[in-house]
Structures are given as C-alpha cells and as structure tokens.
Point group: C2
Chain length 357, copies 2
C-alpha cells in the first residue's frame, strides 16, 4: 500500500516502529498506577477480567479519535489527543449518569510516529484517567498505513434506577445546559485561522503554546482538553432531577435534536439565555461571524444537556453548587415536535449540528 507523504518524514528520536508492539505495551504499563482490586486480570493477557460491584449495572461506550477527522497535529499536542480520546468517552458515561471505572485503549500508529509523541499521548490519557480513577485494563496496538487512530472503550457502573437516557423528556420540561458553550468551536476556529498557514500539518502543536488573551486561551484549552462532566453526571443520576440527558459532542443543536427525537418531543430555545463563553463571543464577533449560530452548530464542548420537570427544577441549583458546574435554563420542551430558537422575539428553526461525515 502506498504510504502517504507524512508517514515518511524524518522524526527526531526513535519511532514506535523501532521498538515494536510488546515493548510499547510494556512502556504504557510502566506508566500506570497499580490497578484497583476489582481488576482481576489487567494488561498483558488475552483479555482483561474485572469484577463489577453487586447490584450495579455496567455501562459501556466506545469512541474513536481519527487523525484528520477528529484531530489534526498542528492544532493539538499529543498529550491533548490522548486526554481527549478518553474525555469523549467519559463524557458519554457521564451523560448516562454513570461513574467511570475502566477503559481499554486501541491504537493504530503510523510507522513514522515519534516515540516521544506516543509517550505524551499516553501521558495525556493516563493523566485524565487518574483524575477520575479510571483503570486502563487492556488494549491493542497495531500499525496504521494511514493516519493515527485512537479508539477507546470505557465502562462504568450505575444503579438501575439512576440511568439517564436521551428518551424521557416531557412537554413542559425545562432545558438546562451545564457550564459554557461555544468555547471549543471558537478555540478550533482560532487555531484554524492563526495556525493553518504557519504550522505544517505534520508538526504537532506545543502543549504550552496558547494565545496571549486569557479568554481565547480558555477556548483553545477547552477544545484541546475538554473536561468531561463526570461528577455532575453521576450526581444528576443519583438525584433523579433529570428526565433526559445527552452530552454535547456534536454541538448544542445536534444534541437538542437527538434528545428531542429520542423523547418524541420538540423544543424552544431562548437564545438570550445561552451561556456562550466570553472568549467565543469575542472571537466570533471579531471574525464577523454570528456567535449564536456558531455556538449552536459548533461541537465538542462536552457539556451536559438535561431536561427537568418543573417540580424538579429547584434541585438543579443544589446539584450545580455541589458539582461545581453551573446549570443554566436555556429553553423548554414542547409537544409540538418542531425545534426552534427564539432570538430578540423572533423565532427561527434550529440550525443543523456538526457532523464528522
């Protein structure tokens, strides 16, 4: 198979192809903390064996990060790519109300990938895993004749009655979103504008290299290393306040559409209430774009979108305080299946969301 140009470029130091799969696995294993007691067999056998707690369910999710589709080297450092590959999976578990527990990591690496980059990628993964006490229990490493592929499957536990689903929203429920939105899209837009001409696509971004403006820097950080709302998701599940929940991987508009589809309802969004990140507001205005439209369509904020019945709405404040993440009401679920956004008293249809296809 013909190699792409970026596979044969010179790298400094040894490459992953120099040391081989088993040494690479040993390298990863040596960077991990000792596994928790519920890991009966960890990395290094044909498969991992775990023992879930009694009376709890296992939640399983998988999400791939593909170079050229989900990330580009010139916009993200290897650390960021490893972090984010796990973060997107933890975000999915959080959206189910599930506490994360274990992950398996499948890497397909181009021969020319520097070993230092590979190590930093693993470090990013392990760093985020450590923050949420997720055990890396197994994985797979193979060559890639094309781009770098990172596929993560994560499992978590949840009580049966505490599962948060996309289905369940009822007409009259309030729509809440956690944290801020638009930041990741603004961060990526900034990187595309500022870096596209200067940085060659085969060179990795530097972890430490962020914009001088702190508001914009926060957007770039959100894009590179999103914070999955693990604690908030688990608390929402326990608390029983949310009638439905989804994470913002493909953007707010796509999330509302998917939640509404699954629940067989519609929604009206109040544009004025959207917690658009300050840096995003500034960046989109500065570059002549509509912050609302960019925020609705832009993806990768990894916040949680929930629906809450009127009698449960008060609980949201308490949860937000405990979880340390704001929850803001941004709209209402309707029996009318249309999806609308109201801005300055004028109603328009919700734009399409972001898609990787």
């Amino acid at each position: 198979m013909e190699r792409q140009a970026y596979l044969v470029r010179a790298v400094e130091g040894p490459t992953v192809a120099d040391i081989g799969e088993r040494a690479l696995i040993e390298r990863i294993r040596s960077r991990l903390p000792p596994p928790p007691a519920w890991v009966v067999v960890g990395i290094g056998d044909d498969a991992a064996v775990v023992e879930p707690e009694r009376n709890r369910l296992d939640v399983v999710t998988t999400d791939a990060s593909v170079e050229g589709v989900h990330f580009e080297r010139r916009y993200s450092a290897p650390f960021d790519v490893g972090w984010k590959a796990l973060a997107v999976n933890l975000s999915d578990l959080a959206a189910m109300g599930s506490a994360p527990r274990a992950a398996v990591l499948s890497l397909a690496v181009p021969d020319g990938l520097g070993l230092a980059a590979c190590d930093r990628l693993v470090r990013g993964f392990v760093d985020l895993a450590g923050r949420h006490r997720v055990a890396l229990i197994g994985g797979n490493i193979s060559r890639s004749p094309g781009p770098l592929f990172i596929d993560v499957t994560a499992t978590g536990t949840v009580h049966r009655r505490r599962i948060l689903r996309r289905a369940g929203a009822q007409p009259g429920d309030a729509l809440f979103v956690s944290g801020e939105v638009g930041a990741a899209a603004a961060g990526l837009s900034f990187l595309r504008t500022e870096r596209a001409r200067t940085a060659p696509e085969e060179d990795w971004a530097n972890e430490a290299d962020v914009p001088g403006d702190p508001l914009l820097a926060a957007c770039v950080e959100r894009f590179r290393r999103p914070e999955p709302r693990v604690r908030l998701g688990v608390m929402l599940g326990r608390n029983g306040a949310a009638s439905a929940c989804i994470d913002l991987s493909d953007g707010l508009a796509a999330a509302i559409r998917q939640l509404a589809d699954a629940s067989d309802v519609g929604a009206v969004l109040d544009a004025g209430r959207l917690p658009v990140a300050a840096g995003a507001e500034i960046w989109f205005r500065q570059t002549g774009r509509d912050p609302l439209r960019e925020t609705l369509s832009g993806g990768e904020d990894y916040e949680l979108l929930i629906t809450v019945s009127s009698r449960m709405a008060r609980r949201c404040d308490a949860i937000a305080r405990k979880a340390g993440v704001p929850l803001r009401r941004i709209g209402t679920i309707t029996a009318d299946r249309r999806l609308r956004v109201v801005r300055d008293g004028i109603e328009e249809p919700l734009p399409e969301g972001f898609t990787h296809f």
Copy 2:
C-alpha cells in the same frame, strides 16, 4: 490531508458518505436480532448498559482490524472482514475461558467505501455474532481519511476460578494445540501468489471465489473466516484441565513464546506431532518452502494453545470430543527457559513469530 488514490476511485451505488452516520447506525440496528434481556440500554443512547450475571466476572478485550495491516481488500470479501474483526476478539475471550456476551463495534470508513460493501461487512459481523449469541450493544462510526479501520471491544463472563491465563504453565506440563495449524498462513500465501498480480488492490475479493482444490480452499477459508474456539475455551475453563492458555493470533511460535514468558518456563516442541493442515503442507512444499517453519511463524489460525499437567492430560480427550475440536499434544514445558523445536532428532531454536510491526 491528502487523500490516497484508492479513496477517490469510482464505486458502484451509494457510498457511506452519502447517507451519513445516523442513517448508517440505523441500518446496522435494523439488521440485528432483538437484544437479550440483560441489555438494559442498547444502541442509540450515549452508551450501552448491560447487567452481568451475579457471581460472574466480566472479561473485556479489544482488537483492531486495519486495512493494509490486518487485511487487504483483494484477499478478503467485506463479509470476511466483518466476521474476522469479531472472530479475533471472541478468540481472545475463549483463551480466557470466557463465554462471549456483548460487543461494541467502532468503524472508521473512507468516504469512498461502497454502502453495499459496508452492509456486507456488518452482515459478516452479525452472522458470527449470531452463531455465538453475542449482542452488538453499541458502537461508533466515523470517517477515515485513510484506510478502513474496524475496532471491536468484546466482553464475556467467567467464574473466578475458571479463568484461563497465560501464566500458570509448570515444568513437565504437556503442550496441546487445538485443531490444525498453518492453514491461515497457507491461505494468505496462496492469495498473495495467485491474486497479487491479477486483482487490483482496491477491489474487494468475492466471497464465493475460492480455489478449486478443496484442501487449499479450506486454507483460504480459514484465513478469511477463522472459527474462534469459543466452546472449547469455555469447556477448558470449566474443566480445570489447562494450567495456561493463549490463542494463536500471531502464530504458534509467538504464542509459545508469550505463554512461556508469562509462566517463566521454557518449552520443547516436537515437530513431528504438529497438526499441520493438509492443504498447508501441500502448498508450502509446492512453492518450495518449509512447512514447519511457515507454520510456526505464520499467524491467524486462532486455535488455542494450552498446557496440561500430567494428571490432567486424560481429560483433554473428553473435552476435545465434547467440543468437537481435536486437541493434540505437541510438546512439553521445561524449567530450562529456552524455546526449542526438535525435528528428526535435531534440536533448533524456535523461530520468531509473526508481528504486525
């Protein structure tokens, strides 16, 4: 990112890029049988939720199939690729003594992949899943700017005392292998010789197109659609006969090496006892190669290699009969850590195994 030539070729009929991720997921879901009762939340939410049986452990494995590394279109039909992507994972579970239960499927597909090919790939996966009652509980589909990537994570259950591990072989234990070896390597070698010049690499092999010679046809089939030894693995776990177990993914030599490393022992292999597939014996001789060496180094037979103490050796016959798969004694575990093969009374070191790096 520069596209490779095979991504922009014309395909007949619609491509996966024409219908998008959500329609593709719906297409996969529509091809599945109704999920079993222990799947609490299946495909279509942020994550899947399963309820394992009480007093059983969860076994988790992940294995990727990368175009150009693990398969090539001209040697495998799409059905075969889907089948094998799951088979290699079920083989890992079998090697742990674990009954498979559920799988998640992560696909990264080039834009130019025909929808018909994608459907047949899913059909191959679902066909094998049905044979072993494995539920497809979730997954992920994204674009690939390079080759086709298929990553599967499979889970199974096992009782704590029935786990088969790579570690555990003792000096004096007998080394057994299931079924036949060398067939997959011969099948691939045949395809490479016969097809490499005639079939363009971007065209998929035809499922029905097999060699006229039935012995060789069996080798090609073994390469394309290996039979994971699920029943045998579970029975070996239950029976307690095996002191260690590993599957033959990277070949017999590599498996012996890994099992011996994990168990801190050596091994002597008796070349005369190896159950080399008849088609492989003929093909390798016919093409001037050493069947023994090719069989030891060649991968992808997905048989099980086990070690058995002398007092347990008799149980193997009963298990083999019940599982419908032969188990043949091929050597002995030694305290001497060297790995040797004896042929016609002459001892030589075990060759290196097959590696994807």
